[in-house]
Symmetry: C2
Subunit: 141 residues, 2 copies
């Protein structure tokens, strides 16, 4: 259950506390390495920490996202999923078969600069999801 990455100092440095609940949830996200729904996180983390409640999972995911340790993503139809924060990236999702592909943030830089100068907003490099058809599903048409 000890984790190769220790998030406690990061959390304490901001004046918050490391708890078994937060540890279990980070542990699950870290070792899965994928997008997980709150229900998935609960299912897995509950094995390690039987007292854990779903309420705490929702609140903790929001807390971790606000502090940059996990990243929320809008996948599919209006439901949030979360993944451990690593490199900045975005997703393309096939609206037919649901396949997903990661893309790096770098190709977005030019567009971001352009939007920033035309709108005076300072943009976060927060996760963006694009929808389309993957190459397999294009053939199927």
């Amino acid at each position: 259950m000890t984790c190769s990455v220790d998030y406690a100092p990061e959390i304490r440095a901001r004046g918050y506390r490391m708890t078994p609940q937060r540890h279990a949830i980070l542990h699950v996200l870290y070792h899965s390495g994928k997008h997980l729904s709150p229900a998935d996180v609960y299912k897995n983390a509950h094995k390690e920490l039987p007292g854990l409640t779903e309420t705490t999972v929702y609140r903790t995911l929001e807390f971790l996202a606000a502090n940059g340790l996990v990243r929320p993503a809008h996948i599919g139809n209006g439901h949030l999923v979360y993944e451990i924060a690593r490199h900045e990236h975005h997703h393309l999702i096939c609206r037919n078969c649901g396949a997903s592909t990661e893309v790096e943030h770098s190709p977005f830089e030019r567009l971001y600069r352009q939007l920033e100068s035309s709108t005076a907003y300072k943009l976060d490099s927060s996760h963006v999801t694009f929808f389309g058809l993957c190459s397999d599903c294009q053939k199927g048409k």
Copy 2:
């Protein structure tokens, strides 16, 4: 209650049916011209059509989105809102004050082409939401 735009032929051409429920919901979205949450849509459409249920609102919004008559957008924290389909556009949202700005799709074209050639996906020009700080909130820092 007669609407300046008649969506019935559009819907029938695809083999579906125009109903009072669909009409009322389109009417509300058309005349508001803004993003509305399912609850907002229900609140307004229910005035015109008292029998309308929330279940039907959710189903109808999903149906209309699937058929391109309304556009879903992920605003803020994981909740979907809908607006009547007009020109293609995207939104920048201030994560501090919630202000939102529309941007045209055209500046995105170059990025879309680039992503398409690197991933072999064919992208929809579906709505994308970016987060950041508006100019007022940048000053406030």
